[in-house]
Each structure stands twice: as structure tokens, then as C-alpha cells.
């Protein structure tokens, strides 16, 4: 049987393997040496790859900007932003610099940079430490958006990200770090733009982003009891988005629920739902329903948070709605 490791360990393994493979790969971020970052993903790198990990002051714009320059000069930086929320301090660097450099220079520039973004609800860190914002980066041409949902996808997608000649925003849901799963040892990569059908089904398609994949699989089991056979599609990268696999599934089942943890208003699920509506209209037997957080900042109190983050019952209810 394959060994079982956590999502965090899978990412760490991917980083070590990629740094071993290519000595232009290096790591940069706050507390990445002394603590291995808040989720210890960069642990062990300082010892194994001395001189290839840089612990920075608190200067997100500077860090990402330095990454852009190093990447243009041929290196492969893997930048850790301690929490996704702080990428707001470096948006020019991501959006106007990293993303557009290839295009603006007529193809001369390559910015092979990975930006790792721990995101989503954690241990009650409130409004400024719980955001997701996948849809922001989907909307930015020139960057790619990866959202792994399992340890093995985490490893394979991160390795692909490091090798990509273009910038990748790599979303790591905080609550996923400790989740476990089977992960192959050694070399494998997962292509971007290739969705994964995490469960086959005939009656409805759930397109699930990040941690909603696991919750959708749980919902699918519950729905079995009601006699519904549900397919779960994990896009794995939101940009590029594998519209074919999604549409093929929806055309087959005729019903779609799109789930994300982030607020659905102008969120990643909106793009997916709109795309399905455009491409699968003739086959749809019910409206495409979106599941996500309400359009509110993340509150602090546990008593409130439990009404914000979407859970399994939200998914089962939505599936029941589109099927009935």
C-alpha cells in the first residue's frame, strides 16, 4: 500500500524534490527559516539547501517584486506569503508586473515564480486572516491559479507550478495542511488545466473547489442513501480552467452544483456557473446552483463562523434542489 502523508508534508516533499532537481529554485518569505513558515512547509530547506532560502522582513511588495526580478533573470523563486490576505500588499507586483511582463515585452520575459498562499478559514483569525480571493487572480491574464484539494494533488501540482515558465498563484487552504492521503514517492507532476473526476456519478455534477472537494465527497455518500449518484469534479486549476471535463460531465448529468469556500458573489464559482450555463444550456435540466460563503467579511466568533463557511449540508441541500 502507498504511504499516507499530510498535505503539508506533500508540499514540503515537492519543494525538496524540485530544489534537488533544479538549483535555480529557491525559497523566500517571512519566517521561512526559523519556523518553516506558519505551516512548516519550508522546514528543513535551510539545512539541506543552504543559501537557497531567504528569510525576509515584513515587506510583501518587496518580496514579490524581488521574486519578479529574480525570475526574469532566470531563477525560479517560490515565494511564501504568510497568509493570502497579505498579497493585497503586493498586488501591483503580481498583477502589473509578474502577470504582464511576458505580454508587454512581446514574449521576451519569462516570470517562473510560484506564490504560495495559505488561505481560507483557520483557527478563528477573523476578517484579515481568512480570505481566499481565487477569482481575483482568475481574472488576471498571465497568471495561473492552482487549488489542490488532496495531498497527492498538492505534490503534483506544486511540482508543475515550480516548473512553469509563468507565474502561479498556489492556494493552500489552511485547514487542509493536516489532512492525510496517499502520495506517491518521487517524481510525478499534474498538468495544469486538467480537472480530476474525484467520483463518478450519473445524476448530478458537483464542481468543487479546494476543501469543498472533500465535503462534496462526503455529501455524495449521504446522497447515495437518497438514491442519488453524484459526480464530483475537481478543477484543480482555476486558471487555466478545464471547461471540457466540466462540461462533458454536466452534459451527461444535466445538473450542476458549483461549490467553493469563498464568497460566491463574483467568486470563482460564478465563472464556472456562467461558463456551464453558456456551454451546456441545452442539456441542463435545472439551474446551475452556486454554493459559497455569504458576502460578508469573516467574523471572529465561532458562533458566527459556523454560519459562514459552507458545509456538507449546504451541498446536499443544493444537490437535492437541482435534482428535484
Amino acid at each position: 500500500m502507498m504511504r499516507t502523508i499530510t498535505f503539508g508534508e506533500a508540499l514540503r516533499e515537492a519543494l525538496h524534490e524540485e530544489m534537488e532537481r533544479d538549483d535555480t529554485v529557491f525559497v523566500m518569505g517571512e519566517d521561512v527559516i526559523t519556523h518553516g513558515g506558519p505551516y512548516k512547509v519550508t522546514q528543513g530547506i535551510a539545512e539541506r539547501f543552504p543559501g537557497r532560502i531567504f528569510e525576509t522582513p515584513i515587506a510583501e511588495a518587496g518580496i514579490v517584486g524581488v521574486g519578479v526580478g529574480a525570475a526574469m533573470a532566470g531563477m525560479h523563486p517560490v515565494v511564501e506569503i504568510m497568509y493570502l490576505d497579505f498579497i493585497t500588499c503586493a498586488m501591483d507586483e503580481v498583477v502589473n508586473q509578474a502577470a504582464k511582463m511576458r505580454y508587454m515585452t512581446g514574449g521576451q520575459a519569462s516570470v517562473p515564480m510560484v506564490i504560495r498562499l495559505p488561505c481560507g478559514a483557520g483557527r478563528l483569525l477573523a476578517a484579515q486572516h481568512s480570505q481566499i480571493m481565487e477569482s481575483w487572480f482568475m481574472h488576471v491574464p498571465g497568471v495561473q491559479v492552482a487549488v489542490p484539494s488532496t495531498p497527492s494533488d498538492g505534490k503534483g501540482l506544486l511540482k508543475t507550478a515550480v516548473r512553469s515558465p509563468d507565474p502561479v498563484l498556489f492556494f493552500e487552504y489552511k485547514r487542509t495542511y493536516t489532512s492525510k492521503g496517499e502520495v506517491p514517492e518521487g517524481e510525478y507532476t499534474i498538468p495544469f488545466g486538467q480537472a480530476d473526476i474525484k467520483r463518478d456519478g450519473e445524476d448530478a455534477t458537483i464542481v468543487a473547489v479546494g476543501p469543498m472537494v472533500q465535503k462534496s465527497l462526503e455529501a455524495a455518500v449521504l446522497l447515495e442513501d437518497e438514491g442519488y449518484d453524484v459526480e464530483v469534479v475537481d478543477p484543480r486549476t482555476l486558471s487555466p480552467l478545464d471547461t471540457e471535463t466540466i462540461c462533458e460531465s454536466v452534459r451527461r448529468t444535466g445538473r450542476a452544483v458549483v461549490c467553493g469556500e469563498d464568497s460566491s458573489f463574483a467568486g470563482s464559482v460564478s465563472e464556472i456557473a456562467a461558463m456551464i450555463g453558456e456551454n451546456c444550456f441545452g442539456d441542463l435540466k435545472a439551474p446551475v446552483v452556486r454554493i459559497g460563503s455569504p458576502h460578508v467579511p469573516m467574523p471572529f466568533s465561532a458562533a458566527l463562523v459556523k454560519h459562514v463557511v459552507p458545509e456538507v449540508p449546504n451541498i446536499t441541500a443544493a444537490v437535492e434542489q437541482v435534482i428535484s
Binding site: 517571512e30 519566517d31 527559516i33 526559523t34 519556523h35 528569510e55 525576509t56 522582513p57 515584513i58 515587506a59 511588495a61 518587496g62 490576505d85 497579505f86 500588499c89 483557527r123 478563528l124 483569525l125 477573523a126 476578517a127 484579515q128 486572516h129 455569504p294 458576502h295 460578508v296 467579511p297 467574523p299 471572529f300 466568533s301 465561532a302 458562533a303 458566527l304 454560519h307 459562514v308
Partner: protein, 326 residues
């Protein structure tokens, strides 16, 4: 207000309020009643108290992720604050903010902040409001040494200096930035040495001595209030606890912490000064501490007994209630 027994007693008590409030919050975290990240201010009490003792109620204060001290020193109610840490409906922020977002607008305490360096420009803006209205209110912004690397430090102070605004920038240099010793990631030891880049006065002060802080802050606040523009104060200080609860603190030795607790505890420093001047008898000391203990016990009781917010509160306070046009 010049130095007096009364002032010292107030400062002494306020430092105890911070110390005991936090130690209680720490305890309640271990009991599972307080949730989320708790960034302990203990050890740095002299900074908040020394600065805020110079402030009027209508002066503005903006803080950081480590702001229990700033709030209490500005006069915030420990009951509401404890309730906030519990995530209760009666909290300063109705349970929506938590430790990193405590604010009390009735005291012009415009908020702690979870983003490092994010209060500097807003404090400058509050000072601009004061100047435009001619109300001679001063704005004080507390921030850590880590914030000095951020662009917001540069842009915020730059604007405060350009417009000669009534704002005082107080850097709490506790020599660590989360899990990293400051000098691993900084080139200048003293943050106040950056003041020259903004053509404003910069001064470094022993942040473990409430009287020194008080006096340096008084000069800066008076200058700000009278139109002399901003000052950058660096208070050299130390946090007695880890970055937040659960921090294993591999980046420093227990001996280092112990030495600071023994030799540079601001509460001890002030007690010694007061004892020296015969401004505090043992009885008075005990009475003050007892009062504070009562206050904190009360805060816990209040928090314990308060209700959690209702589910309907999830969607309130996103925008003002009656969003009406004209």
C-alpha cells in the same frame, strides 16, 4: 500633567490592568473560552501607558495585532474587551473582531489591526481630520519594529511629515518579528534613525521605563498638538511571552526572557521609583492590585455570562443599515 504621585499611581494601576487582563486571557485560552490568536503585550506595558497618559479622551489611537495594552491604556472597558476575546455579543466589537481588531470608537481608539503597518497611514489620516477641523486632537499610532520595513511606514510617515500633521508614530521595538530576531532581517538597529529620511525628529527611549516613555511622549504629543508636526519614537522593549500563544520560542533562550522579566519589568521599575519617593506604601500597592484583580474577575464573569451573537449578526455591519440615497 507633570510627574506626580497621582499620575504614577494611575500609570502603575494601568500597567497592572494590562498585565492581569492578559494573564487572565491567556488562562482562558487554555480553558478554551478565548479563541483565535492571542498576542500578549506583557512586558511592554510601559509603552502604551507612558504614551497614553498624555492623551486626551478625544485623541486618536491606532494599534496593531498586539493591542490589548493600547486599548486598556486608552481607557477601554476590560469587561467588553474580555467578552470580545470570548467572541460574545457584548464584546467591544460584538464578537466580530476578536483580539486583533478590538476598537472603541467612543474613546477614539480606532482599532487594533491584523495587518502589520496598516495603522500608520490611517493614523495620519485621523491627524489630517483633526488639522482640517482645527480641533487640536493628536493621533498616535503604535506599531512594531517589523512594520518599519513596510511601504506603509514610508508612505504614511512621508505624508504626515509633508503636511506637518499632529501625529506621533510610536514604534515598539521588541527585537522580534514573529519568530525572527529583528537583526536577522534589518540593517538599522534603531528604528528612530530612519526619522531623518522624513525630516522629522526621531528619538529612542527605554520602553521598560514608564516615566521615560511618558516624558518623551509628552514632548512629542505637545509638539504635535501645537502644530510642530510628527515625531518618530522608538521604544526599546521586550515581550515576556511568545509571538502568540503556542509559540515554542526556539529563537530565544528562556534565560534571556527570565533576565528581562527580572531586570526590566516596567511594573517593578515604576514600583521602585514610587517606593523611593514614598508615593506607594505596601498597603496601597496591595489595594491597587486587588482592585485590578476584581476588575479582571468581573471581566471574566461578564464574558462568561454574556450570550454569543445571534446567527443573524453574520450579515449585519457589512454596510451601514439604512443604505439610502440622498
Amino acid at each position: 500633567m507633570s510627574l506626580s504621585a497621582e499620575l504614577c499611581r494611575t500609570m502603575y494601576k494601568d500597567m497592572w490592568r494590562i498585565r492581569l487582563f492578559e494573564e487572565e486571557a491567556n488562562r482562558q485560552t487554555n480553558l478554551g473560552n478565548v479563541m483565535g490568536a492571542l498576542h500578549m503585550y506583557c512586558g511592554e506595558e510601559a509603552v502604551a501607558v507612558g504614551v497614553c497618559s498624555n492623551l486626551r479622551k478625544d485623541d486618536y489611537v491606532l494599534g496593531t495585532h498586539r493591542s490589548h495594552g493600547h486599548c486598556l491604556a486608552k481607557g477601554a472597558d476590560s469587561r467588553q474587551m474580555m467578552a470580545e476575546l470570548y467572541g460574545k455579543a457584548t464584546g467591544t466589537c460584538a464578537g466580530k473582531g476578536g483580539s486583533m481588531h478590538i476598537a472603541d470608537f467612543s474613546l477614539n481608539m480606532l482599532g487594533a489591526n491584523g495587518i502589520v503597518g496598516a495603522g500608520i497611514a490611517p493614523a495620519t489620516g485621523a491627524a489630517l481630520a483633526s488639522k482640517m477641523r482645527g480641533t487640536d486632537q493628536v493621533a498616535v499610532c503604535f506599531f512594531g519594529d517589523g512594520a518599519a520595513a513596510r511601504g506603509t511606514f514610508h508612505e504614511g510617515i512621508g505624508l504626515g511629515s509633508l503636511w506637518k500633521l499632529p501625529v506621533v508614530y510610536v514604534c515598539e521595538n521588541n527585537q522580534y518579528q514573529q519568530w525572527v530576531p529583528r537583526m536577522n532581517v534589518a540593517v538599522l538597529d534603531s528604528v528612530s534613525d530612519m526619522a531623518g529620511a522624513y525630516a522629522i525628529p526621531g528619538v529612542s527611549v527605554n520602553g521598560q521605563d514608564p516615566i521615560e516613555v511618558y516624558e518623551v511622549a509628552r514632548e512629542a504629543i505637545n509638539r504635535a498638538r501645537s502644530g510642530g508636526g510628527p515625531t518618530l519614537i522608538e521604544a526599546r522593549t521586550y515581550r515576556f511571552y511568545g509571538h502568540s500563544l503556542g509559540d515554542e520560542q526556539q529563537y530565544r533562550t528562556p534565560e534571556e526572557v527570565e533576565a528581562w522579566r527580572t531586570d526590566h519589568d516596567p511594573i517593578k521599575t515604576l514600583r521602585a521609583l514610587m517606593a523611593d519617593r514614598q508615593w506607594l506604601t505596601d498597603q496601597e500597592d496591595t489595594a491597587i492590585q486587588d482592585e485590578v484583580k476584581d476588575e479582571i474577575a468581573n471581566a471574566v464573569k461578564f464574558a462568561d455570562e454574556s450570550p454569543f451573537p445571534d446567527a443573524a449578526e453574520v450579515t449585519t455591519d457589512v454596510l451601514a443599515p439604512a443604505q439610502e440615497a440622498g
